[in-house]
């Protein structure tokens, strides 16, 4: 009896987390007039909202922009953060410890502090309304460096020394010797970076005004807030569904990695 109650409680909770998603997809596939009566499955099944959405905003272009930006940022973070993490973990040079404490300090700085000046920097560089504004500031982050440093500390020095004797330079050591034995850390940093970049919306809203350069979250936000979706709940929900879809598919495939990565990201405080 107690056991049934236990599973009932868990089941109801799981339902509470899944139901809104199911409703969103079903409603986006129902005709506008029947959306309000949708409870679980689509009523009067139709793709009309998706078709109309495709015709009224450049959602496909925004998808490609998002893929482009998130991929480049993720790649940059992996390369540049592992470089810094490697130097901080395995090299001895003047100022290393100072640099490390500085890194920890910058991690505590709230983004609210740098938001306005960073925007002005973009204006001065002439980068507003360009992908550079979306990509360059994200190419490195302190948390990724910290994760790489922590991981490289656990790698035996012998491995690096052996590669040096074989005549490898530091970059070859990092990318050809250390990367192959660092796959879990690369995955963790990669997932966190890709996900936060894909989902980010405040920064794009500030630096991008031209519709054809917008990433998906920004386009969907402006569509939902602006007048164009007035009274068109189906289209709004269709746009939200399209925005959620890629990341949910990735999540369903790599569920374990997602959860582990995010658990690691929680440790930063």
């Amino acid at each position: 009896m107690k056991k049934i109650l236990f599973y009932l409680l868990l089941g109801v909770s799981a339902f509470a987390f899944l139901y809104p998603f199911i409703w969103m997809v079903s409603a986006s596939l129902s005709e506008e007039r029947s959306i309000n009566s949708v409870t679980l499955l689509p009523l009067s099944f139709t793709f009309i909202h998706y078709i109309k959405l495709y015709q009224s905003i450049p959602i496909w272009g925004a998808f490609l922009n998002s893929v482009f930006v998130a991929t480049l940022v993720t790649f940059g973070v992996l390369v540049f953060s592992s470089m810094a993490g490697y130097a901080l973990a395995k090299h001895r040079f003047k100022g290393r410890n100072l640099l490390f404490y500085f890194l920890l300090f910058t991690m505590t700085l709230p983004f609210q502090l740098t938001l306005i000046p960073n925007y002005i920097l973009m204006v001065e560089f002439g980068w507003t309304n360009s992908f550079a504004a979306l990509i360059v500031p994200g190419l490195l982050n302190a948390f990724a460096i910290l994760l790489f440093r922590q991981h490289f500390l656990s790698i035996p020095q012998d491995l690096i020394d052996a590669a040096r004797i074989d005549g490898c330079n530091e970059f070859r050591i990092l990318f050809q010797v250390l990367w192959p034995v660092s796959v879990p850390t690369l995955i963790t940093v990669g997932i966190i970076t890709f996900m936060t970049t894909w989902n980010d919306v405040l920064w794009p809203i500030i630096v991008i005004r031209e519709e054809k350069l917008m990433t998906m979250p920004q386009l969907v936000t402006l569509f939902a807030v602006g007048g164009r979706s007035m009274g068109q709940i189906g289209m709004k929900l269709a746009s939200a569904t399209l925005l959620a879809m890629p990341i949910i598919i990735a999540y369903l495939i790599f569920q374990k990695h997602f959860i582990q990565s995010m658990a690691a990201s929680g440790q930063k405080e």
Binding site: Y7, L9, L10, S13, A14, F17, L18, P20, W23, M24, A27, N36, F80, M83, A84, A87, H91, F93, L99, T106, T108, L109, P110, F111, Q112, L113, T114, L115, I116, P117, N118, I120, L121, L139, L140, I145, E170, L174, W198, N199, V201, L202, P217, V220, T221, V225, K236, L237, S239, A244, I247, I248, Y251, Q255, F258, M262, A263, G266, Q267, E269
Partner: protein, 287 residues
């Protein structure tokens, strides 16, 4: 040899140094500089001394946004901790479909806040929203979730809990798994009830996780933007105006760059102070 290695160290770290120079050091210095100026980006900058700070101290909207954040945190943090801990304790036992349950709770964590707000805006709808329709069927009055100034912020806090709680369940699970089994066994032999065990064994061990959850939620509360931006625009009656939304409005609606930078600076100091106080108060309590 040694010389060349030191050069390669700096080569490896140089992208980070360049990045930090432009995107951390410059912005911090420049926001301080800006806070003494009035500037709309187009016309020349004007030195205004401390007037931005004076304005801020009397700014009803900024105070209101801080008060709104307090309302959010007062609801969000307890709700978050109770639900996350409760579900984590349940998941920490030998159960069927554990992966499924864990996976479901975590789902909202991975999607964009935009998806969640667009979706919940419909669920919170007054006439036709699923939540009010359910309440109606159960015989309750409809609630103006996003239209009643008393309810709007709590509604956002509830939604934010739904969005984030999966992450905290995972963090609590990590904490719970660090509790040694032997402690439970020994106390069972001495006749401790499971409630006593939870109170005296589990809670002290997961206390660090609790602090972490509190701090992360607090930072999250001060960072609210997309939720009020999409759902309410800060209304009704500014009851959901968040500090970041207010900075955004000052900066990108009115182009008061100097004042927006001042707001950001002071808000950052407030966040650091609050987090610092949370840390010291809780750590003192422990010892």
């Amino acid at each position: 040899m040694k010389q060349s290695k030191s050069i390669s160290s700096w080569l490896l770290i140089s992208p980070y140094l360049v990045h930090i120079l432009f995107f951390v050091l410059f912005p911090v210095g420049f926001s301080l500089f800006l806070s003494f100026h009035e500037w709309n980006i187009i016309s020349p900058m004007e030195f205004v001394g401390l007037s931005n700070y004076e304005k801020l101290l009397q700014d009803q909207y900024f105070l209101k946004s801080l008060r709104n954040t307090l309302v959010f945190l007062a609801i969000h943090i307890p709700l978050q901790i109770v639900i996350a801990l409760g579900l984590a304790v349940m998941l920490n036992q030998k159960i069927w479909f554990r992966g499924f349950f864990r996976g479901s709770f975590f789902m909202p964590v991975v999607v964009s806040g935009v998806v969640v707000t667009v979706l919940w805006q419909q669920l919170y709808g007054y006439e036709m929203g699923s939540i009010n329709m359910l309440l109606n069927k159960l015989g309750f009055e409809k609630v103006g979730w996003l239209t009643d100034p008393l309810w709007a912020m709590p509604s956002i806090a509830i939604m934010a809990t739904w969005k984030n709680v999966g992450l905290y369940i995972i963090l609590f699970l990590v904490g719970l798994q660090s509790v040694p089994r032997s402690l439970y066994e020994a106390s069972s032999l001495e006749g401790a009830t499971s409630w006593q065990q939870f109170w005296h064994i589990t809670l002290p061990v997961i206390n660090p996780t609790m602090i972490m959850v509190m701090i992360l939620s607090t930072i999250g509360g001060f960072s609210l933007f997309i939720e009020p931006y999409v759902m309410t625009g800060g209304g009704p009656l500014n009851s959901t105006l968040s500090s970041v939304l207010y900075i955004y409005k000052q900066g990108f609606f009115y182009y008061h760059m100097g004042y927006a930078a001042t707001l950001g600076l002071i808000l950052a100091l407030i966040i650091l102070l609050v987090v610092f106080i949370q840390r010291t108060v809780i750590e003192n309590k422990q010892s």
